[in-house]
């Protein structure tokens, strides 16, 4: 049988500063095309887990395989190349605020272009066309030359999605992509992720705050608690008891419609 697409083995992360054990012996696998949702309280290690996969954070120990390649062994140069296939979007959008939407989207192509050209702000014509196409896809074609900080939160996150699309990713990491947005906007953003997952076959790893969103969009859910994996299964398998285990006794389920 073929290896799963993403394999995380005994992943442990200790932050030097403060000796925080952020991830403790986390193991799971993801098949190609899955929409995996990571849930857990804040501080449970969701961000750390996602950042270990593209090595924005260096794991302390453990191994990660992506498409058969051991990511945790790659040199810095090889890792940069690998990152091109791993898109990422963020809770705070992380756009260049003073630059245009176009420039922001084009940064998704940095890994594919020679350094000297991009330093001058030059991108090939095909990239510019692709950028317009992707902006159209997220419904922002008329905003291409607007400054990024003039957009609303939901629009900024869609720019973030377009930037990730530019990488033509196989894997998308989404770190609480809708936590800074209101419920209605949340759904629109989540639907773009769902579309990427279904239509482009992008494997998605998204951390979400609300269980209702996780149930609605995830094909599978894993849960972290204090850095340990405490649940791995289909959305239906999270019952009241499981919920209390993940979120603590006092938690109440909140719906996002």
């Amino acid at each position: 049988m073929a290896e799963p697409y993403l394999v995380v083995e005994h992943l442990t992360k200790v932050y030097e500063r403060g000796q925080v054990l952020a991830l403790k012996d986390v193991s799971f696998t993801v098949e190609k095309g899955e929409f995996l949702v990571v849930i857990g309280l804040s501080g449970s290690g969701k961000s750390t887990l996602l950042r270990c996969i593209n090595r924005l954070v260096e794991p302390t120990s453990g191994r990660i395989f992506l498409g058969g390649v051991e990511i945790t062994r790659l040199s810095a140069r090889e890792m940069r190349k690998m990152r091109r296939k791993i898109g990422m979007i963020f809770q705070q959008f992380n756009l260049i605020k003073r630059a245009t939407v176009m420039t922001n989207v084009l940064t998704g192509r940095l890994g594919y272009n020679p350094t000297w050209r991009t330093l001058l702000g030059l991108f090939p014509k095909e990239d510019r066309e692709l950028a317009l196409k992707n902006l159209e896809r997220v419904g922002l074609s008329d905003k291409a030359y607007v400054r990024a900080d003039e957009l609303s939160g939901g629009q900024q996150q869609r720019v973030g999605i377009a930037r990730a699309l530019m990488q033509e990713p196989e894997l998308l990491l989404a770190d609480e992509p809708v936590s800074a947005l209101d419920p209605a906007t949340s759904h629109s953003v989540m639907q773009y992720l769902e579309q990427m997952n279904r239509e482009d076959g992008v494997t998605v790893l998204a951390s979400l705050h609300f269980l209702s969103l996780a149930r609605r969009y995830g094909t599978r859910i894993i849960a972290l608690k204090e850095g340990r994996l405490v649940f791995d299964g289909p959305p239906e398998a999270i019952d009241d008891a499981k919920f209390k285990e993940i979120y603590g006794e006092e938690a109440e389920q909140v719906e996002v419609r």
């Binding site: 083995e9 940069r80 990152r83 990422m88 998704g108 330093l119």
Partner: protein
Amino acid sequence: MNGYPDGIVKEPPEWLSRRRLLDALILRLKGAGQRLAIVLLDMLAIGVLWILVSYIISWHVYGVIAYTLVPWWLFGVGVVEAAAVWESFGRSLGHRLARKELRPRQGGKSTLGQRLVYYIAWHITVLPMVGLLASPPWHERLAGLSLVPFSMEGKKPTPWWRTSSGLFMAVFLCAAVAAAVSVTMDKESLTRLFTQAGRTVKFWKALFSPDTSILLPSIRDLVVTIFMAVIATSFAVVVAVPLSFLAARNLMRGPIGRPIYTVLRGAMSIIRSIEPVIWAIIFLVWVTARRAPFAGVLALWVHSIADLTKLYAERLESIDPGLVEAITSTGAGRLQVLRYAVVPQIINPYISFTLYRWDINIRMATVVGVVGGGGIGQRLYFYLKNLAWQQAGTVMILIVILVWAIDYLSARLRAKLA
């Protein structure tokens, strides 16, 4: 074994445990260092207050300045004892600033007995200093007290005038003001300040009757001053921009980066603390002043480098790491991350700081000129020296106009950038 799972790939498990031993040692040194810093700070505070008080008393009672009123050894013993008492029976200034407090290890409130033991044992631990290296230090262990992060849990707030450090600071401030007043002012000068203003009338008259015959050469010198500032600032930017990256704490990590950061920031703050006038004198001696403006430019240049490096580096330290993460995650290389994640965040502040420094340099260039650094300042000094009030007044008016104009211009530009 050590709480970590097996299957460690990069390092063998011993590495972690050895690292932990090292960490424990470092922690201990840090603990000792912090306690020592607290003690030294308390002693310093008490010592300075003592000196201030004796300053005031000796000045008013004996008409001379005496530092301690008592022999130096007595002063030393007094300061040490006062610090010991303060730390043992109250919450000292050092503890406050370090956000620490002494709490019984068993919980509850500390008893007077415990505090007494702490006070006596303090002498055998803190004074020879070795006892501080134990963890916990001997005096804390003997008294059953431990130094823990301060917490208001289960306590009511105390108004500042009922805390020892609050009272101390109040007394300290009063003493400092009183000492400053008694040393710099006396009755006679104060009465003159309010009655003898008329004596300056002649002087003012001369200042405000400009001598137009020196207008042209003065304006030429004014232009020299502007050029001094422009050249010093631009060449300082060329050096300070790259240096700022080496002086930013968040960029300089690890065993090579951190020392570079420390040395650079230290050097910059030393250079900055030496006034441009002093630098001008140094360079006047160095380049033997055939062309005086050059010495002035060098002085401004050196001082601007240090100042701008610090301002730039602080800005770099406060950039949003999120954007760096985002650009890195696209597979961008180091230079690309710099260009697309760092530069957009720093470019406007950098320009703004540069304008600000240019503004300062124009004013500094006149001051530097006074010691012979060239430009309008040198001309002003020449007239003042020769008691040519009328000409000095002309130059001063020109300087005021220039400084005002530059100030206005740079403020407008900076407002645009914000």
